[in-house]
Point group: C2
Chain length 616, copies 2
Amino acid sequence: MAEFTVAFLPDTGSVTVAPGTPLLEAAREAGLRLQSPCGGQGRCGKCLVQVPSGVDDPTPVEMRILSPAQLGDGWRLACQTRVVGDTVVTVPESSLAIEHRIMVEGAEREVLVEPNVRKVSLRLPAPSVEDPRADLHRVMEALGEGALPPSRLEPLQDLPGILRAGGYQVTAVLAGGRLAAVEAGDTTEETYGLAVDVGTTTVVAYLCHLPTGAVIAVASDLNSQAQYGDDVISRIQAATGDPEDLRGLNRAVIAVINDLVARACHEAGVPPEAIYEIAVVGNTCMTHLLLGVPPAGLGTVPFVPSFRSAQTVRATDLGIDINPHGSVYVAPNIGSFVGADTVGVMLASELDRGDGLRIAVDIGTNGEIVVASGGELYACSTAAGPAFEGAKISCGMRASHGAIDAFCIDDDVDCHVIGEVRPRGLCGSGLVDVIAELVRVGAVAETGRMLRREEASALPEKVRERLSENEDGMEFVLARADEAYAGEPITLTARDVRETQLAKAAIYGGIELMLHQVGAEPGDVEQLLLAGAFGNYIRRESALAIGLIPSVAAERIASIGNAAGVGARLMLCSLSERRRAQEIARSTRHVELSEREGFYDRFADAMMLRPLPADR
Amino acid sequence: MAEFTVAFLPDTGSVTVAPGTPLLEAAREAGLRLQSPCGGQGRCGKCLVQVPSGVDDPTPVEMRILSPAQLGDGWRLACQTRVVGDTVVTVPESSLAIEHRIMVEGAEREVLVEPNVRKVSLRLPAPSVEDPRADLHRVMEALGEGALPPSRLEPLQDLPGILRAGGYQVTAVLAGGRLAAVEAGDTTEETYGLAVDVGTTTVVAYLCHLPTGAVIAVASDLNSQAQYGDDVISRIQAATGDPEDLRGLNRAVIAVINDLVARACHEAGVPPEAIYEIAVVGNTCMTHLLLGVPPAGLGTVPFVPSFRSAQTVRATDLGIDINPHGSVYVAPNIGSFVGADTVGVMLASELDRGDGLRIAVDIGTNGEIVVASGGELYACSTAAGPAFEGAKISCGMRASHGAIDAFCIDDDVDCHVIGEVRPRGLCGSGLVDVIAELVRVGAVAETGRMLRREEASALPEKVRERLSENEDGMEFVLARADEAYAGEPITLTARDVRETQLAKAAIYGGIELMLHQVGAEPGDVEQLLLAGAFGNYIRRESALAIGLIPSVAAERIASIGNAAGVGARLMLCSLSERRRAQEIARSTRHVELSEREGFYDRFADAMMLRPLPADR
């Protein structure tokens, strides 16, 4: 059978497909992800493309959704349109799916599955004149000594009907040993929980089958609180300024979690009512906003959180759409800017075990640094800022489709782009690579100064030509206008270099000061763990070269992915791990960097773009 | 100054009042209570009377509420109308207030005041760089070791704002040792609780100042669940038949409680938000309906309740309008038909103390009988039916305005009427008196047969004339048509005597069987306690004469009033009394009368209208 060529504009290459292939599928083969929230059913109208010829006639679905004028201009829905000849398809940016690269695996480790929520199947005797025990009493006695009666009204209200409808064959749902619900029949296999990592930028949810601890679906999305500000500080300000904004921030993250519940459940074919518990990690501000607690003390010196301890609340009180008898466990925080997500990282990487010197760094919008030494735990937070997440960088973007995520220089520059398409910007790992390479070839000095073209005579010609100067100062062209997706050049400016220096100095300075706190040198470090998506994709060599992390032997550096999320899963699936997390949060010393003598001196050293500490 | 005479029709006497006296006040002086839910503001239009002359002109308020035709016929609002001359006022029955005589005092006893809810005033240090403890941590540490963190979200949400607004001078509200709320400033004196006795017929609420245990207001009302049926059985049937009826029954009692909260708080000048806990007693069905729990097993053999144990639930979950952080404690039940109200009676009368033989009888819509003997507790319920509450009796009524509540026979009958007005009917204590007197003079035989006039030649003439016969059988006229309020004679029929025999036999038979259970005779009884309003107003001599209670020496019989309500107050104001109530409920043996051999034989004996047990 003949095959046809389908080319996509703006130039993202072409593919060869069989006749009758839907355009949505052809685009996917070409590495283009189009929006299709309706799942290709022709309902959402989001996969709009322009294709004048080489395709079949519009379907009734398209005739309903698109106007005659749109159809006349060749606009079609990619999910409805099938290839019948060679064709060229124009994809508007609005139809492109926003795709994120988020760590969902990571530092997994084996734990005994003993979740807080467990189900017990009970075959009870029916009441008789000889055995007229009350319904609740009958169930509690069957559960045995350790079980606690319900603390909520609803299980008691449901009990009489369920017992009788189920012929006294029922399943008791226990949460923390307390009767949380009763279900008719034997439903022990249908026990699910959700582990959620609420990041400032991204929210990730893991749907787990509690009896086995297996992850059966993962869903993630942006944290829509971003409408109130990209970083923690601006959200704290919004939440403490106007109670309506606190409510708005609370509702925003709840809406995201509800959406993730729905998506993960849909993917796994599990009803949301089968989820009885959510375990949440997040930074201290995120845990406050999730619970609707004003982060009143987080915004000003002396920076006090409203709570640190773990909280368990009813899912219905938060408006989270799981089983109405379900609850939400919010993991404990360590301090104002070292939150439950860091506790998750420490739990996942078992920093509380062993005597050796180990460091974990989680570079998100903030950079949290944890040091374990001689059985003691220390944690601090550095205001790294969002440079490594693409913000404050002129062509910065998140690690999604079209981002330059790796970079090297030979005769000319060589960019690797996520999705192998035309570049649209520069993400965090790319930023570290670009600066490391520019310093290596001498286009940027160790001080961070970008050379003018005439100073850079040692550079290869093609590289040197990429240096240019305009009224805002120097810049280096990574991709020329004709090479880039949007027709605008992608550049790294001298100001971008400064932003990166500030961010990396905050992280490096923090690590160095924490080492100082425990009286250690970088050479003493047995293990340096990089957590988070950025930590997973960063090239160690580049991070060492620009002094983002101290000079630790490369083989001692390990990426542990979204360890915070792994920690949440451990807390969901194991009560002893949950208790361990609480002990970690309780015992970790919160180090306030800005209070420490010498931090600002070290900060200045740490600005230098070279392996650190350098011989001075 | 001249005074005027105001006479009220139907004939309830006349009073002399000063000119300008409102008719509402004149009626009150004449012993007539008119409806005035608006408090005499002229808004409700419920105090309608007909008065052609001797009063001032209609006010603008009346001209708005009454039609010109009504005004033309002399209809006025008693609250708006002032006396300006001698006058005669006709009061329609619909304008009469329905007034109930409800026991609100009773078997009070001294207990140590140590309520479940207590407030602690805290003057906390403000956070500093040296003391950056989390808000919640700061409060919990000040409360000391025993205090538990909040289990609800709201206190945590409120905490940051209250701490800062109050300058760290706050009051912690502890419920069961757990932080339930935080209030700005020192509010320790403003701590209130409500004890509620939810009867099948009547609901009584006692507003208590918790730091002292003092009752500062009492409010009561009819249980508006009566719209679903007067007795427990019909409400059980409604609640288990249609979930909508269960909701309706639940909402009805909640609405009554909310109304009592508002009224008691208004009377005492206390805001409802200052109430942090409600302690509730009620029979087993009432506690189920209050919590919205289907009484599914209560309606059929083997009669199992859905729960027996005490329940503590959030006030907001029930829709009860006290402090939103407040809770509702529902006392434990003993069995299907011996509920938390009986536990309250037992607690109030300390039946759990001492070794002697003591009996408590609570005659409400059901008759609960409790026996303490040798440190053991036994309880049963008898289906006495509502005869003693006025139902099923031809001229029966509740113990309110116009009821014959005491009765004796000499040359003729002598009725005492509540409110000293023309009689409207016969209440429980009057019924017992009437039957006892009719048996004494020989108008009714011990078997319950009412004599025909020609058989009763030994009776005084005026008494004999009151015996008459119609197609329904014999009846005895207590008040002739011209003596009675409504112009209809008030009679006791032969059928009424049978109903009373059935009811009293149930109670007597129950007591006798309980005595048999513990191997005792009436002569062994150290104390026979009569609880409830009926038990308080009944004449012991009459009750003994007709064999409603066994022949115990009169000095060993005591009335303890609304002991169930006293029990609720004890549980509200003392945690050790609350624990004691739970121990009473747990340890009392529930005796199922109908299962006991000999109950029906004894029941036949017990039908006899004579002191029992008789020499046989």
